[in-house]
């Protein structure tokens, strides 16, 4: 009996959680410009999304493209910087370690509007023109801490003797790093990259404040501007639906893999 109510509760929550998304998904298959009108099934919006036909279509795709480019570059640099940093931090002790870890954690606790405003002021102060470069720099600054936090545990878990064993067997520190340490850190680097990529994709406030006035749009800023104008670009509906489905598939795959490896271990 308890089980019935419990499941009911969960399902109610899920229905409410997904209602808006399902709603958008449904209406992505109709042509009506205004959301809520059903003018019959039509994949036209999907076509328009990819060919940039209807008004707003190409600006939207450009925004999507920017978002992806920024995310990939920022995540890649963050992974590199964060991994090197994690190796350095792992070898620090005491106050120095506390200090750098404190600074590392600030961007994660700071609300994105504060990060955005503070970086805005920084770029003004340094007289750096704001645009793609500043956005990428800003994203790197709030993504790297996540990489550090993903790689550090891998360093702690690593048998400390492994590096020494490599040296003992004749490897120079450089060789020991590449042949022995990096392979150990790879899983952490990968999850750090994915996390950084996600954080960057999802960001709005920081991009908003650091993109300057050159007309740089990411998906988030595009939606914001769009909503302010009052209308909702119809192509956004298929886009949202696609993103929704892609993420759903990805998450299911990841979780299936995870339960598979857990089953193997058992």
């Amino acid at each position: 009996m308890k089980k019935f109510f419990a499941k009911l509760y969960i399902w109610i929550l899920l229905v409410i959680l997904y209602a808006p998304l399902v709603f958008i998904a449904i209406f992505s298959f109709t042509e009506a410009k205004a959301l809520g009108n059903w003018t019959g099934f039509s994949p036209r919006l999907y076509q328009s999304l990819f060919t940039g036909g209807m008004q707003g279509g190409s600006a939207l795709m450009k925004a999507v493209q920017n978002t992806l480019v920024i995310a990939i570059i920022a995540a890649a640099v963050a992974t590199l910087l964060g991994t090197i940093a994690a190796i350095g931090i792992h070898n620090l002790r005491g106050r120095k370690k506390q200090a750098i870890m404190f600074m590392n954690n600030i961007p994660m606790i700071n609300p994105d509007i504060i990060i955005g405003v503070s970086l805005f002021l920084l770029f003004v102060f340094l007289h750096i023109g704001q645009g793609m470069l500043t956005v990428i720099l800003a994203h790197i600054s709030f993504c790297t801490p996540y990489v550090v936090l993903s790689v550090l545990p891998k360093l702690s878990q690593m048998n400390p003797n492994i590096y020494e064993a490599a040296l003992d067997l004749g490897a120079t520190p450089h060789q020991a790093l590449w042949k022995v340490m990096v392979p150990q850190l790879r899983p952490g680097m990968l999850s750090g990259f994915i996390l950084a990529f996600t954080m960057s994709l999802d960001d709005f406030a920081v991009t908003f404040f650091t993109r300057g006035t050159v007309g740089l749009e990411t998906l988030s800023t595009y939606i914001y501007a769009d909503a302010r104008k009052g209308g909702l670009t119809p192509e956004l509906r298929p886009l949202m639906t696609i993103i929704f489905v892609v993420i759903l598939i990805l998450l299911i795959i990841i979780n299936l893999r995870r339960s598979k490896t857990q089953a193997e271990v058992k």
Binding site: G36, I87, G88, I109, V117, L121, P145, I247
Partner: protein, 256 residues
Amino acid sequence: MTKRSNWSIPYFIFLVLFVVLPLVLVVVYAFQDNEGGFTLQNIGKFFSDSDAISTFALSLEVAIENTLICILLGYPAAYILADKQLNRSAVTIVLFILPMWINALMRTLATTELFNMLGFTLGKGTLLFGMVYDYLPFMIYPIYNILQKMDKSYAEAAGDLGATPRQVFLKVTLPLSMPGIMSGIMMVFMPTVSTFAISEFLTNNKIKLFGTIIQENINSSMWNYGSALALIMLIIIGITSLFTSDDSNAAEGGLI
């Protein structure tokens, strides 16, 4: 091997430049007037502006309400999900995590449009609803995580010593899951206090939150006042984080 610690130096410089310095600048601008001299008038302006203060209070109020509702709705959900007898499927938790990965603006927009279609007037009710909708997964996930990893022997020991299921929950499970609740509060309260775009969508700009004022000021080049407001928000955030976390588990980033 000890020389490896020097590898942290580039990152240290990076952090100082991109994290510490910007925050210092916020403080500096907050206390500067138009000519660049030191002044307290920016802070003073905030305290004398009744609109600003009421917006601030409103933001805090909304944030607290949002957090509380998220806890009330989210804890039971997390509990059910973590209880192997009530939930045997691994897919269900995935369904709760998924919304966290979809762009927040997108989700909020979808919610707003749904409200529009259903004919609800946009105002405080929809604002709160939309906030809960947006942030609920962030409350559920950390609590779920900690409940799931909790050693079953604590509950068993309590039962063995004579506690009823209700007592086991109140005296053992709930206290031990506090770190998860704290984590959830951090992930919900702080973003809610500082949000601006979401509130604009959900209320059709009728209700302004604190984040919006900051954004407006910065965008109209009122950097000094805007920084002062940002500084005030920072202080609130700082106080909250002191209360809710004492170690760097603040954001484990373990969403995968």
